[in-house]
Subunit: 359 residues, 2 copies
């Protein structure tokens, strides 16, 4: 039996521990990751791990995937409401308010659910999944958390005369428009954006954590270098998310919705798959040029790690405090229970953001 | 806004990347962890990360929790079959073969399910959960994956005259007997074993990864230093697991069962919660004194990371090869699919075990 002999590799800028899961006297599990926080001037004001780590935006791309829908005039041509525009940016719960709104968008463009290429999955809402089961119904494409995004993409394809049957493929003109928007907001050249396929079958964009944070900083505070149409579209998307937070996540049990409710117009909050979370903080006294935050839990944990980290980051950055912090506290630090319901440990944040200049 | 300035900490013996989850051209997520492999002489023959990492055995403790049931004579007094003894070591699927066997154990000791303190949860078997829902039934304590262990603990309590109502508490004599067994097999002093509360409400034992591997090496090849009763009990537990692998996991979709089937009597395989997995390899040509293997996925991932790692470890150690390797391959490297079923990435092992002497 011959095993390979080699010294352990030392990783530069490896992901750092962000969340501890305790049980009794010891830490039983840990979640590591990367965080990047960029201000409106593009400065990296806080970080952890490697802000240069490249990963996919996943659903954090949705507000940017909706930008061409606005700029092209497609949203206005089809008479999409602000609420429908919010749904185009959503990873929604599949509740009736979501499926009905997605259906309304399809009605306005004259297509049926069969035109959506996102596939079906059980609603994120456990209550809605239960209701479907009780009625003996299968989930359909409208329940897919991305159905609003896909309806928006179809609208864009019809408006610009791109093939509607292949709207989800990278070579479709609308996906090219979207990729250009990602390049514009991130500052990453089109050819340097990594391209994969998302869970809902459309192209997904890979950029660095810092670039991802930059995108959200630009979205909430579009720079002078953006033309008027791009600035206006950004403001319209941000307003739609802030005014209809329940369309972005759901009526309950969704951190992105609760974060925007708690933020009271001061921030937008968007979850991505595989442990990604992004936040844009509008210009405020604390952060006059606004902030963009991007985080990635390396192992892809979406439930116990990601919410804990984003809330603690915003607390340390002074964005969440007092009542707004209390409102999201249940997602931040919570007990581990056994099958009988007794508390046997806890999930808690275990990090301090660092200023990159101080490293 | 003042952020803490400090250099990034360098961790000695940090967990190492074990599994990569790709999407398109990039690695989207990674799982890190620790591995320890010990031979029958107590030598650390392979490792990754820090074999000194202390974590809980969780359900990997079950074969040891069953040892006092055998040694005390309780199993024989109540006429437990070898199949029932296997169930005492199980994290079972909650299929009818499991719930009926747990009920049979209770019948033999003259107690009802209400005596079990494990709490209820949906069966691990998705098919069984579906059946329960279709019949409108709630899961009960017999479906709990630990119901056999708890029935065994009750039998032990009755046999030794310990209070049956508090069999799950650390100060109950039977839990003291179990802790002594953990100390004996691990070589860790009773007072140095970390104690938490498991998901099923009984004490759970924290030792190093190396000690955990040692426990399995001793179980499959009891050392001369063990008395005859301990050696015989070990052999009886190992035989029960090997002869009834479907009682340990389930009739399908359970890696521990498939591993023991593939091993054809050459190994025992036991899953623990929060990313723990343990294997004992009986003495063989390749490893004449036997092997114990323990691994921990740091983030607690149980599905895509842990199976991939344990199979790759056993492949590198020469324990799984040819047909036995093919039999478990579906758990080892598998595609990531989108909601439409297209392959968009893969989950794969990404490590080489090292010989500690070579580090």
């Amino acid at each position: 039996m011959q095993l390979e002999h080699k010294p352990p590799a030392v990783e530069l800028s490896a992901p750092v521990p962000l969340v501890e899961v305790t049980r009794g006297p010891i830490v039983e599990s840990r979640h590591r990751g990367h965080v990047a926080v960029v201000d409106g001037a593009g400065r990296l004001v806080a970080a952890l791990g490697d802000p240069g780590t490249i990963t996919y935006l996943r659903s954090s791309a949705k507000p940017f995937q909706a930008i061409p829908l606005v700029i092209s005039g497609a949203a206005d041509r089809f008479g999409f409401s602000e609420r429908e525009l919010a749904l185009a940016c959503a990873s929604h719960n599949g509740e009736p308010i979501h499926t009905q709104t997605a259906q309304s968008m399809l009605d306005k463009i004259g297509l049926g659910p069969e035109a959506l290429k996102c596939g079906a999955h059980e609603p994120f809402s456990a209550a809605e999944t239960r209701r479907l089961r009780e009625r003996g119904e299968e989930p359909n494409v409208l329940h897919n958390n991305c159905s609003g995004k896909h309806a928006g993409m179809l609208a864009l394809a019809l408006h610009v005369g791109a093939p509607a049957a292949t709207y989800h493929q990278l070579d479709n003109p609308i996906q090219q428009l979207i990729r250009e928007v990602v390049a514009r907001f991130s500052g990453v050249a089109v050819e340097d954006i990594a391209i994969g396929i998302d869970g809902c079958a459309v192209p997904v964009f890979g950029v660095s954590m810092k670039a991802m944070a930059q995108m959200y900083a630009h979205l909430v505070a579009p720079p002078e270098s953006f033309d008027e149409a791009m600035r206006a579209a950004s403001q319209r998307i941000v307003a739609a998310m802030i005014n209809y937070p329940e369309m972005i996540g759901g009526t309950s049990e969704r951190l992105d919705t609760e974060m925007m409710r708690a933020g009271q117009g001061r921030l937008i909050s968007k979850v991505g798959a595989e442990g990604v979370y992004t936040v844009g903080v509008l210009p405020c006294a604390e952060w006059p040029s606004g902030l963009g935050l991007a985080l990635k839990i390396e192992d892809g944990e979406n439930f116990r790690a990601r919410p804990t980290v984003v809330i603690e980051c915003l607390r340390q950055l002074g964005v969440l405090r007092g009542e707004s912090l209390s409102a999201v506290a249940p997602y931040s630090r919570f007990p581990v229970r056994n099958r009988r319901g007794d508390v046997v440990g806890e999930v808690r944040a275990a990090f301090k953001l660092v200023s990159p200049n101080g490293r």
